[in-house]
Each structure stands twice: as structure tokens, then as C-alpha cells.
Symmetry: C2
Subunit: 299 residues, 2 copies
Amino acid sequence: MSVLIVGSTALDSITTPTASNPRLLGGSASHAAVAASFFGPVKLVGVVGEDFPKRYLQLYKRHRIDLLGLQVLPGKTFHWAGEYEANMNNRRTLKTELGVFETFTPALPAAYQTAPFVLLANIAPALQHHVLDQMRRPKFVVADTMDLWLKVALPDLLKLIKRLDGFVLNDSEAQQLTGEDNVFTALKKIHKLGPKHVVIKQGSHGSILSGPRGLFICPAYPLRKVVDPTGAGDSFVGGMMGYLAAAKGPVDEHIRRAMTYGSVVASFCCEGFGLQCTTKITRAQINGRVEELERLTRF
Amino acid sequence: MSVLIVGSTALDSITTPTASNPRLLGGSASHAAVAASFFGPVKLVGVVGEDFPKRYLQLYKRHRIDLLGLQVLPGKTFHWAGEYEANMNNRRTLKTELGVFETFTPALPAAYQTAPFVLLANIAPALQHHVLDQMRRPKFVVADTMDLWLKVALPDLLKLIKRLDGFVLNDSEAQQLTGEDNVFTALKKIHKLGPKHVVIKQGSHGSILSGPRGLFICPAYPLRKVVDPTGAGDSFVGGMMGYLAAAKGPVDEHIRRAMTYGSVVASFCCEGFGLQCTTKITRAQINGRVEELERLTRF
């Protein structure tokens, strides 16, 4: 089955202590869509400007991502610039130019409206609502978010969370949303906001699912070197949703393995700037790391 | 087989945001010995003053801990006072009174010198050396440490690390020792200092082993409420060594499961002040949480 992914489609200028890379293909939807593409068909919803490089459209196409929902509008593509500190955990935003995203309200193609799996990747909650409004009885809807929306669009976000099957956020966002330091207490509080599945991402420490079948502690793949963590969280949730959409049977039977696959795609994402590493890997390499994670966690 | 444990035997005065508890039984050796006692015989090496409460001696005895190596000397018992911040991760030391530990140099009873498993729990490296010097061909020697010794006794500690089969430290200590933010690179560097087994503790994120059979990612048991984390690291390594000493066959075959048992004992430790929870649990409860951890990590 296919997964519909809406989120940002952007150009990222990323600086780390060792290198600087301008105008890479980035954005939550780009990372999530490429990650999901290893498992099955992906329908992308987004907007880019006339300056969007053709080679990035080619990249989407190489990953067989359906671009019927990607609008090309007069104006500039969303551009984000950020810089990482030496430990690669803290980053600061140097520039955010919304460009064509400022006025974007997508009208979904008919073929998109029946996609059974929907990933509302990180973007303004109003836009996530707008896409969800156009869907016809999706099977499983998951949203990701970021600290910014908790600050500037909390009422919208809370309304969105109520409509979700699954909500994904990182540990500091969970703390911000619930006021709870303890991740398991935070999970409990987030369930009360609506979703049956809540996933808290913990970066290099992996992630934790709380769902109808209880908790799952999902490991992160051990990486000796992180080149650029931008998009790792998007790759995680994209890989997870791609795997889920491709799996047969109830979500609860597959979600643990889906998270592990997402975690592995995120590990590859961290090993290159932007999508440079993710776009070079094969499904066999992903399977290899998942098997390795099984060996690394067995006792 | 039995495990010999040397470390601090202390009185801990612990303040958290919710309560204050003076003069609890504490110290690295106390926590490690009680944790190890659930699995097999333990021989304790330490020193206390004349002020050491009889009920704490009774507590050791209830756990069938061999006290032949526990000296009672004129003077005061080592006393530590500390205070935790609201998130229970950061703590500051309010008081450290070494008392009888200041001049302590243990002479091991003959029956202790042949113990096959040796845990040099956190204490000055010179004292860890001194105990190790008296051992006759132990099978498996592990040491724990703390940031203080990395600062004030690094040459002693480096010499000790060379003599170990296993070295256990937490993530910030690993960073301090190696200058590496990345835990997997840090593990590699620590192997070069000597030990075949290196374990990095990551608090509520679990721990990571690097050994002859590769990496193992050991989960932490999910806790909704941490009452007092004092001694959790000591309980972890004590439980691990107790389990290893009781297991038959090569260490490498059992160390993953041993760490998981240690992790579970540490989780109980965090649920009460000092040893208040650890001393109330049963082996069946420990087994129950280990089985639960298996379910929580399977995918």
C-alpha cells in the first residue's frame, strides 16, 4: 500500500565543524519520502519554487516518488541554513526563508486522497490539518512536529494530535509539551491528548513506543561518526511509515520492526550531508543493519 | 563461585526535591554487595567506624554477605551528603567526610584471596590496586570509578585499567577520559588502555558493552518515578558481577544477560532512598523485570 507524505521540501545550507554545504536537498518531506521509498510507493505533497534544481526532481524520480502532489510555484524554494556545534547535538538556525511555503495550501490530486497511510511530516500544524481534511478514511495517520510549533501554534497542534493514530516527537519536545522530565510519564500524558501510538525519539539513544501492546524500546544503530544529523528524525518516521505501508496485517504486529527499519535508515542519513548517504544505500544494506541490531540487542 | 567486592562502605545523607534522608547505608561496596547477593556468595572488603549502626551490619548479614573483610576501626564512618536537582540527573556533593577511610589499607583474609570474581567498586584507585595485589589468579576482574579519580588520581587509574578484564564507567567519565563525545569511539580508545570488556553506563538510557564478541546495547528498565538514583551504577555492576560469578562457563557467554540483570537491580535501587528498595526485593521480582525487558526490546 502507498504512503502519502506531506512536509517541507526545502534547500538546506548546513555547516558542521568540518564542512559547509550550501543548498542541499532537504526538508522533512524529502527525507521522509526517500526513507519510505525503500519499502514501497510514496506520494509526495509539497511545494518548491522556480529555483528548485532539476537534479533534485530527478532524485525524487529515481526513488520512484510520485510527484503529482509537488507543486512548482513562482517564487523561491523554502531555504533553511543551520550550523552544528562540535558535539553534533546542538544546532542553531542561521536563516529561514519560507519562500513559496508562505502561502502554500495544497489541493490533493484525487489519487492521493485514498492513500491508506498518511505521514504528516514536520510542517505547520495548519497545513497538516489541511491535508488530513482532504483524505478519505485513511488507515493510519501519523504526525511529526518540532519545538517551533509547540511555541507558536500549540492550539492548532493540540487539535491535530486528537485526530492522529500516531504522534512522533523528540524527548525535549515531549518535555516541552507535557512539562514532564520522565519520558514514560510524558508518554502517558500524550496518550491522553488522543493518539493510541506515541513515539518519543531520543537521538543516538534510540526511541520509545507506547502503544496498545505496551512499550517498545527501539535501539539506535551504533555510529562511530556522525557527519550531519539533519533529517535523521524525518528519515526515522519516513522509514517507519514506509515499512508499515508495505507490511500486511495489523499495524500493531509490525510497528516495532517498522521503527527498527526507520532507525536504521536514520543511521545512514547521519553518515552523509543532507540526503547524500541515504540516496546511495540499498534495501539489502538496510536489512543488514536491522539484522545487526537484532544481534546487538539480544541477551 | 563467589565475588569479592571492595569499595566504599558509607553513611549517605541524601536530599531530593521531595525528601531528606540522613545517614542511610550507602557506599559503592554496600550497593554492589547487596545487588550481587541475589545471585550468589559475596565477600565484602571495606571499613567502617565505631559509629556504624548495628542494624546496617544486620542488613549485610541478612543478605548473607561475608563480613570477614569488613574492618571496624576507631573513628567515624565515611559520610557523604548530597542533593539532587528536580530532574534527578544532576546532583551536588554537600559534604564528604572520609573518616576511617582516610588511612584504610586492607589486608585480605586468606579465604578472600582466591575469590575468582573481583569487583573493584568505586573507591580510590590506590586502594583498588592494593586489593588486587593480594588476589591469587582471579578469573575476572572488573573496576568501576568516578569523575573525581579521573581528576585527582589519573596515573593510578590508568595503571589499574591495564590490569583489568573489564572496566565500567559512565558516559561523561568516558568523555573525560578519552576526549571523545562519541560513545563508540570512546569505547575503542578505552580498549587500547587494556581491558577486553568495556561498559559505558548511560543512566536511564541503559548501557553499552564492547567486548570480544562485539557490542551489546543493554536496555534500562522503564521507570515512571525515580526516588533516588544514588547507588544505581554500583547496583548495576554489582548485579552484573554477582550474576557472572554464579553462571557456569565462559564470561562472554553470560555477560549480556549479566548486564541485563544488573540493569534491573539498578532499576529497583532507584525506586527507594539508599538501599531501602533493593533490600526488599526478591530474586523472582528481578527475574520478572528481566523477562519484561526481553519483551520490551524484541522486534
